[in-house]
Structures are given as C-alpha cells and as structure tokens.
C-alpha cells in the first residue's frame, strides 16, 4: 500500500482508520510519525491561550458604548469634566427641580393618582456634590420626566380626565423645559438621558404647536 495522503492523515486525527489504513499505520513508521505529528498539532491548537486585547481597548469600547447610549458611567462624567462643573450640575438640577417642583411639574402632576410624585423623586441641586450624586440626579430626573410625560398625555388626551390646559400655557411650560434640556445636552452631548429628554420635549412641543396651529376655534393672536 502506498503512503497515506495528507488529507487522510488529517482525517485520522479525529476519525477511526479503516482496516487497510490501520494495517498500514502499524507497519509504516513514516505514516505513523506523520499521524502523530498531526495529532500533536491539533492538540496544540486546542490549547492555544486566550489573548489579551491591546492597551486602551476598554477606553475605546467604552466611548462607543456611551455614544450609542448603551452604558452610562460615572467615569464618563469624570472624563468630560462634568463632576467638577457646577454649570452641568445646575443644568441637571434645573431639570429635576423644574419637573418636580413648581411650574411644569405642578401643572402636570396629579398627586391624587400616585403615591410617588415627581417631587418625591427629585434630588435638590444643593445636595449634588459628586459625580455619583449627579448620576443619581439624572436617573431621578428621567423617572420624573417619564412620569410627568405620562400624566401630561393622560391629562390632555382623555375626555374623563381633568380640564385640558390652555395650549399657550403648555407651550410656555415646554419652552422652559426645552431650554433646560438643550443646556444639558450642550454640556453633555453624549449623554443618552439628556438626549432622550430633549427629543421628548421637542416632540411634545411640536405637538402643542400643531394643536395651536390647527385649532380653528382658538384665535390666540
């Protein structure tokens, strides 16, 4: 019998030889050695170690994750310098206070329907003194915002709900919220929460403007 081919030897690494192949390997030292070498090679490949990513890989990945809104970290705030930026904290706090306190928050909050009002979820600006607290403030603001927005929709959309607000009053309230959101996004352009605020406020403002422009009964000018 001729020597076994490379393909056959490669196959015999993990398959049983047929009787002819087995007999040949028993008598042919060259093929037996070659088969052993193939087996050692596959074994060595199976034992290859994991590889450490290059230095800076996490930082680069983290930046992408943040820019795509998949994570938010305290390190991110620190890197952008927000932790030490009173203006940013003021902007974040402005949203919190605005939502949970007077103005828009009071207009939209129906305290009788919920145990947890935006006010109870807000964190006063004076208490924000670290990046972690700022993150917490943003989280609270987000929850407050979503709750207020839900009430806003309920309030303006249902015939059983309370009396609808004057669109111009709503627009005024939204303009204030828009200014705060824009300032926050200007200071933290990669922050997904602030961007979410801004998008939602713009959508609501657009809707109110549409209501005003299509209302034939209301001659507001």
């Amino acid at each position: 019998m001729e020597h076994l081919t490379q393909d056959t030897l490669a196959r015999l690494v993990d398959e049983r030889p047929n009787p002819d192949e087995r007999d040949h390997i028993k008598t042919c030292r060259r093929c037996a050695e070659a088969l052993r070498a193939f087996r050692l090679q596959s074994e060595a490949l199976g034992g290859l170690p994991a590889l450490r990513p290059p230095p800076g890989d996490w930082e680069s990945l983290e930046a992408r994750l943040v820019s795509e809104g998949l994570v938010r970290t305290t390190e991110t705030f620190r890197r952008f310098g927000f932790a030490a930026a009173p203006a940013w904290m003021q902007a974040a706090a402005a949203i919190v206070v605005f939502l949970g306190g007077t103005g828009f928050g009071l207009t939209l909050t129906n305290a009788a329907t919920s145990d947890e009002t935006p006010q109870s979820m807000s964190l006063p600006a004076s208490q924000i003194s670290s990046a972690e607290e700022a993150v917490r403030a943003v989280e609270l603001a987000e929850r407050a915002y979503m709750q207020s927005l839900a009430r806003y929709r309920q309030w303006t959309g249902g015939s059983d709900g309370p009396r609808a607000a004057d669109p111009l009053s709503l627009l005024t309230a939204l303009e204030g919220l828009l200014a705060a959101s824009q300032e926050a996004v200007r200071l933290a352009p990669a922050d997904p929460v602030f961007n979410g605020f801004l998008v939602n406020v713009l959508a609501e403002r657009q809707e109110v403007l549409r209501q005003i422009s299509t209302s034939g009964d209301d001659v507001w000018f």
Binding site: Q6, D7, L9, A10, R11, V13, A37, F38, L40, Q41, S42, A44, L45, G46, G47, L48, P49, A50, L51, R52, P53, P54, D57, W58, S60, L61, E62, R64, L65, V66, E68, G69, L70, V71, R72, T73, T74, E75, T76, P192
Partner: protein
Amino acid sequence: MNEAQLLRKACQGDGPAVRALYERYSPRVYAVVRRIAADDDLAQDYAQEAWIRAIRALPTFRGEARFSTWLHRIAVNSALQAVRAAETRHKKEAPMPESLAVAPPERDALLSQKLEWALDRLPERMRKVLILHDVEGYTHDEIGELLGTTAGTSKSQLFKARGKMRVLLKDLDSSENSVSRNDGKEIEAWSI
C-alpha cells in the same frame, strides 16, 4: 457580584457591570476574533463590534445557554461577517502576531507564537474552519451553519488546513534551524 447580577445591571446600562463582563470575557472574545481576522488592527475593530452587538442584544439573552457561549457565538458571527464584508484582504508579511497571550506557560509561549504565525498565513476559508474546529471546538454541523456551507465541505477544508498548517510549521522550523546554523547558535527547534 455574581454573573446573573452583573448581567442584570449591564442590561440597564450600568457601566461598571459592563466593564466587569468585559474584564472577564474580553481575552476569549479577542482571541477568537483575532484568529479569524488574522490582523491585530482589524481584530480590535471586530472585537469591539462584537461587544457592541452583545451589549445591545443583552435584553434578549434568556440564559438558555451560558453567557460565555452566547457571547462567543456573537463574537464569531461578528468576525465572520466582518471578514466577509471586507472586499479584499491584504496579507501582510508581518512578524509574529503582536497579540499577547493571557499568561501562557513559558515553555508553550514559543509554540503558541508559531501556531499563531502559521494560522495567520492560512488561506481564509481554511483558517476559519481550522480555528472553529481545532481551536474553538465547534462541530462540522455548527461550522457549516456559521459559514453557510455543508458539514462535508467543512471537513474537507479542515483536512486541507491541517495539512497546510503542517507544511507552514515545518518550513518555519527549517528556516529557523538554518538561521541557527548560520549564527552558530543552538535554538530550540519545534517540529511536530
């Protein structure tokens, strides 16, 4: 914090939790992607893309498989797609790969380097099959599914890849021995 807690937090966009998952699994993700890409720069891009996809898809992870298996499959798919998408690959005559093994035993370091070097020089189809089968332990059916081919084709490519790999390693060994003789120094020759 256990893995389930980490995953729950990572799912909510918690940075430190995502970082912890990265620290735990990035060497394995990077390794398989690096070997498929056969290029350090591309590997970093492909690995990052794999992580982005995984974190984005995290809410769909139901725990039916182990997270490491799920993540590994995403990394493999991501790298295979990226390689497919690349119109042309320019094989570089580079030295040994620069990637660093995660604490390889010293006596195996040279062997690993040679294997990585030879893997980088295999034709693309052969390399993919050899990595998926011999390095990562996928079955031919799984490889066929991943590469959009049959299990039979996968086997055929594997046998050819093993043969080509052996030739590359023997050539490398011969050239090293030749250099060694010329320098009058003795080096450890690795012959399989």
